[in-house]
């Protein structure tokens, strides 16, 4: 079995509000940065993965890449974690030697952005849209009240998710929001979709990033320390939020993470650093429980007690997360970028001695999940 690593990882030069950048430019800029970071040339790339739009063919064409392996898997914001998983298998099978995975999204400025509406004959359009949903803020939030009732999660505990992530963001010069906030600030912010306030909802930004995945053997003479891909998982639950089996737990989070942990052969005590997709404040609560870091109903108190904060035992979302760092709409790429930075020892809010990092991505509204277990050693 060929050991496969992340040899290059980089974001766009800027993230935030970039009305002068097209979606394609964001892909291309992230890709050029990541290939340079790997110490490679674009001509070394023989596999490409990206999610629409503009899609892997358009991106490869723009970069002058002639791939012999293409992946356009699109399951929302976690797609890039699945691309990493698929790239591992492609490299092991000999279908490609060096895979480029790109993300770019003009989520804020909407330059060249695709419209996200569901086709009129889809189940989503027939059985959810008529009830006045307006995308993630009014859909992803629906399960939360059931969780709060079942497990007694308080509004203050939920608000603490945003407070702790802002603590991490305050250490990161690239984070969009860095001023400290309190639980009271969160609860006093505008109600967006009850019970979630503005500061419990993610940013909407422009940006991108890319990864270069190759064999450990190929990476041996490259400049960056390789980040080993120890375990991966992917799955989906339901394209309709209303059809989740249980509103207090994500079956997709559980299954993809169990697979990734099993493949990596690690236990929770081996993990030094965690990234969980935080489109809204409740998602890390679900993620910590569904990955098994805490028991059912325990994540709210765990976060409120500071155990995921700087100095805590389980550093979580150390870039500031989707709530304070950036969220282009498909945030999964930025989870992996921060895991790689932590494992290379080059993060803005560095976790001392981080050796194993786990990233959990969400796609759609609890629709799909991908999990990666990464390490700076085999």
């Amino acid at each position: 079995m060929t050991d496969v690593v992340i040899a290059g990882a980089a974001e766009t030069d800027e993230i935030g509000v970039l009305p002068h950048h097209s979606t394609l430019r964001l892909h291309v800029e992230g890709a050029r940065n990541a290939v340079a970071d790997a110490g490679l040339r674009m001509s070394d790339i023989d596999g490409i993965a990206s999610v629409s739009s503009p899609g892997p063919v358009m991106v490869a064409h723009a970069l002058g890449v002639a791939p012999r392996w293409i992946d356009g898997t699109g399951v929302g914001g976690t797609s890039f974690l699945l691309h990493v998983r698929h790239a591992v298998e492609a490299i092991r099978a000999g279908h490609a030697s060096t895979v480029l995975i790109t993300h770019g999204e003009s989520g804020r400025s909407r330059v060249g952005a695709a419209r996200g509406a569901f086709p009129a004959s889809s189940p989503n359009a027939q059985f959810e849209a008529p009830y006045g949903v307006t995308g993630p803020p009014s859909m992803f939030t629906i399960p939360l009240l059931r969780y709060m009732k079942e497990f007694g999660l308080t509004a203050e505990q939920l608000a603490s998710v945003a407070v702790v992530q802002r603590e991490w963001a305050s250490r990161n010069p690239r984070a969009r929001y860095r001023d400290p906030i309190t639980v009271e600030d969160v609860l006093a912010s505008k109600m967006i979709s009850y019970p979630l306030h503005l500061l419990e909802c993610c940013l909407v930004t422009d940006g991108g990033g890319a990864l270069v995945v190759t064999s450990a053997e190929r990476a041996r003479d490259l400049p960056r320390p390789p980040v080993h891909i120890l375990g991966t998982g992917e799955t989906f639950e339901s394209p309709l939020i209303s059809q989740m089996a249980d509103f207090t737990t994500s079956a997709a989070f559980r299954r993809s993470s169990a697979d990734a942990f099993a493949e990596a052969g690690i236990t929770h005590s081996d993990v030094d650093h965690v990234m969980i997709y935080d489109a809204f404040a409740h998602v890390p609560v679900y993620g910590l429980e569904d990955m098994g870091f805490v028991g059912r109903g325990e994540a709210g108190a765990f976060i409120a007690e500071g155990r995921t904060a700087p100095g805590g035992e389980l550093p979580l979302n150390t870039n500031g997360g989707g709530l304070s760092y950036t969220h282009t709409g498909m945030y999964g790429m930025f989870l992996v970028q921060e895991s790689v930075r932590q494992l290379r020892g080059q993060a803005a809010a560095q976790v001392p001695g981080a050796e194993v990092s786990v990233a959990l991505g969400n796609g759609g509204m609890f629709m799909a999940a991908g999990t990666l277990v990464l390490s700076n050693h085999t």
């Binding site: 059985f127 009830y131 949903v133 629906i142 967006i192």
Partner: protein, 127 residues
């Protein structure tokens, strides 16, 4: 826009009936309408009329309205007495956290929306 698989649902709604499908192999009812059973993949299905009774499973109150809606309003998921869940709105009561209590009893009502009729739910008055 209904498809051949979903048309019976909307035809029933237009008559004031909430009809869903049931699998004739494994016996389980399900929503939303589709061409095969989500539990056992059997295509041997039948339609049946539900009781129209449900309980409030979860909801959010959105403050950013969709076109044609006046905020704030609840986007709810209800659990039908027969088991399956569906998204809906709660009508006949001001949509406030105090009025919308999880697990409260609801009954179906219908609203004409252009060419289609959709089910909504309203609280059952406590005697």
């Amino acid at each position: 826009m209904p498809t051949p698989e979903t048309q019976p649902f909307f035809d029933a709604a237009a008559r004031g009936e909430l009809r869903i499908q049931r699998c004739l192999d494994c016996g389980r009812p399900f929503f939303h309408p589709r061409p095969c059973c989500p539990f056992c993949a059997s295509a041997d299905l039948e339609w049946f009329t539900t009781s129209g009774r449900a309980t409030l499973y979860s909801y959010t109150i959105t403050h950013r309205p969709a076109p044609g809606f006046e905020a704030p309003y609840a986007i709810a998921v209800v659990q039908l007495a027969e088991g399956p869940r569906m998204m809906t709105n709660i009508v006949g009561v001001e949509n406030t956290p105090g009025n919308l209590v999880l697990d409260m009893d609801l009954r179906v009502t219908f609203e004409q929306r252009g060419d289609v009729t959709i089910p909504q739910f309203t609280p059952v008055e406590v005697a």
